[in-house]
Symmetry: C2
Subunit: 321 residues, 2 copies
């Protein structure tokens, strides 16, 4: 692969291989996961969350995590990340040699109990232990650690979530040693006004520490929320190819924002993502064929690119990839 020719304005991180796949019953074949990873990376996606490092008896979908991670690590220039719910997951991530670990905890007690079976305070304490553990890893091979805050804009179990609590927990994870904080609207309860408020406040607290956003499009506001987060200075977003996915512990929470929809939004606004949409859309078509019966709501994948579309910086990977 040749290096990208344009500076990136906004990072788009694929999470469909984790967030999408964990929500469906059918186990995707390892070779298909690898092909997905390879072709999406070839379209310019520079970071992919390839699995969740949880016991296979809890999520059989990720029983092949080792093979998928090993394959992904062979893709030149790809940042390979994995979701971890606890220190045990971190140990596996270190052993597998992932570049980045996305720690998952929820702002609301009810969702944290349902998702990772412990209190928010226990999740925070475990995050601190993971940071300590990572300090023992030689710096050259040490995975980066992102702290993710789920249900930050409301919880399908508890309802309202206090914005003060989101800001407080984001700061806490930063103080403990997160390399990045990700604020997540796990169940599609966010709106652009709340998104602007919360991300502005969190950004003020975090200073230069990277701040990411993770939106679901459950109630149709996903891309409007992206626009609001951009206004608040957020420059990295999680998304799922074709918009499939959800959370098995949050009823009704179907679908991350679509990677292709997100890239279309950003590029059409003149923001460079390093992704070639004309190469990405066929990957959506391929994925639909591999997951029959799964809903892919992405509108751009259905309607296709407009005739007046000009990608922000043109294709950024040379054709000879």
């Amino acid at each position: 692969m040749t290096p990208m020719t344009q500076p990136i304005d906004v990072q788009v991180r694929e999470v469909g291989m984790r967030d999408g796949l964990q929500s469906i019953q059918a186990i995707m074949a390892t070779a298909d996961k690898q092909a997905w990873c390879r072709t999406e990376h070839a379209a310019g996606v520079a970071e992919i969350e390839v699995c969740s490092l949880v016991p296979p008896r809890l999520l059989p979908q990720f029983g092949d995590a080792a093979e998928v991670v090993a394959f992904a690590l062979q893709q030149p220039g790809l940042t390979v990340s994995a979701l971890i719910p606890n220190l045990k997951g971190a140990e596996r991530g270190i052993a597998l040699g992932v570049h980045k670990m996305n720690y998952a905890m929820s702002v609301s007690e009810g969702h944290n109990q349902a998702n990772v079976r412990r209190s928010v305070a226990d999740s925070v304490a475990d995050f601190g232990r993971i940071v300590e553990r990572l300090r023992q890893v030689p710096e050259a091979s040490r995975p980066r650690l992102a702290g993710g805050l789920a249900t930050a804009f409301g919880c399908s179990i508890e309802g309202r979530v206090a914005e003060d609590r989101v800001v407080e927990l984001a700061l806490r994870l930063a103080e403990l040693g997160a390399d990045e904080v990700v604020v997540a609207d796990t169940v599609g309860y966010g709106n652009p006004a709340a998104v602007r408020r919360v991300f502005r406040r969190v950004k003020r607290e975090l200073g230069a520490l990277p701040l990411g956003a993770h939106f679901h499009d459950t109630r149709g506001l996903g891309l409007a929320n992206v626009l609001a987060a951009l206004d608040a200075g957020v420059d990295r977003f999680d998304s799922s190819l074709g918009g499939f996915g959800g959370c098995p512990y949050a009823p009704g929470a179907t679908g991350n924002i679509a990677t292709d929809g997100l890239v279309f939004l950003l590029q059409s606004m003149g923001l460079e993502t390093g992704i070639d949409l004309a190469r990405l859309l066929p990957v959506v078509g391929w994925l639909k064929g591999k997951l029959p019966g799964v809903d892919f709501p992405s509108a751009i994948a259905i309607a296709g690119l407009p005739k007046n579309f000009v990608p922000a910086g043109g294709p950024t990977l040379q054709e000879a990839v």
Copy 2:
């Protein structure tokens, strides 16, 4: 009906009875159109475009325009509007006694030819004749006249549309005597950056003249475009209940933004629309039952209101409507 108890921040105008119905083959029964009009108005929607005043041989869907308009005019406080493509349509609108006429023309020559079968210059000239004709109508019964500019963000026939041309035509319609200008993304080619630019420029030219936005969600950016238009100071939007609809002369242009999605966006941001979403959503369910086989993509109608939802000003119509 009792008067609304809250001042309105943003006007939401239902256009599904025209823009939605014109895109489907099945002719909806007159009694169903009337029931739709009545129940959506009872949920707080204060303006409904109930038909297109074109010859029934072109659009048989609107063969019952006279009965639908007559019924709608009986709903106390409802602003009854109709689309008109030319002076002949205006004559019918005046005869039927509609409150408002939405004149349709396109910024791109190709779409204007396909849609109203004449040049843009001829459409502008006809708009001037309609203004003259309306001056002969006694002021008390004179319909207001909105000038609509379709394909303002790109055209599925011609591709790119010059922003200068949109601004120029908006100003021309205002100078000729429009009571309002509506800028429309007929085919879902718009993006938030272009929307902010164009609406800011048009607003600067129009001054205090009302400026509306009409978005389609064909490529998933509809509500992000609403957010951008709000930033530019736009305070009135067209939408279609459940998000069904399109334009029969613009291939692939499926679906206005959903009225229920638009109201959810606005109310969740604390903006008052006068609409009771809890009363509006059941009307979507009813409409789905009346139009089997028609796609209703509205996410909020599928997922339902979040547990943390608080309407901007609470229900604004008393329960005893």
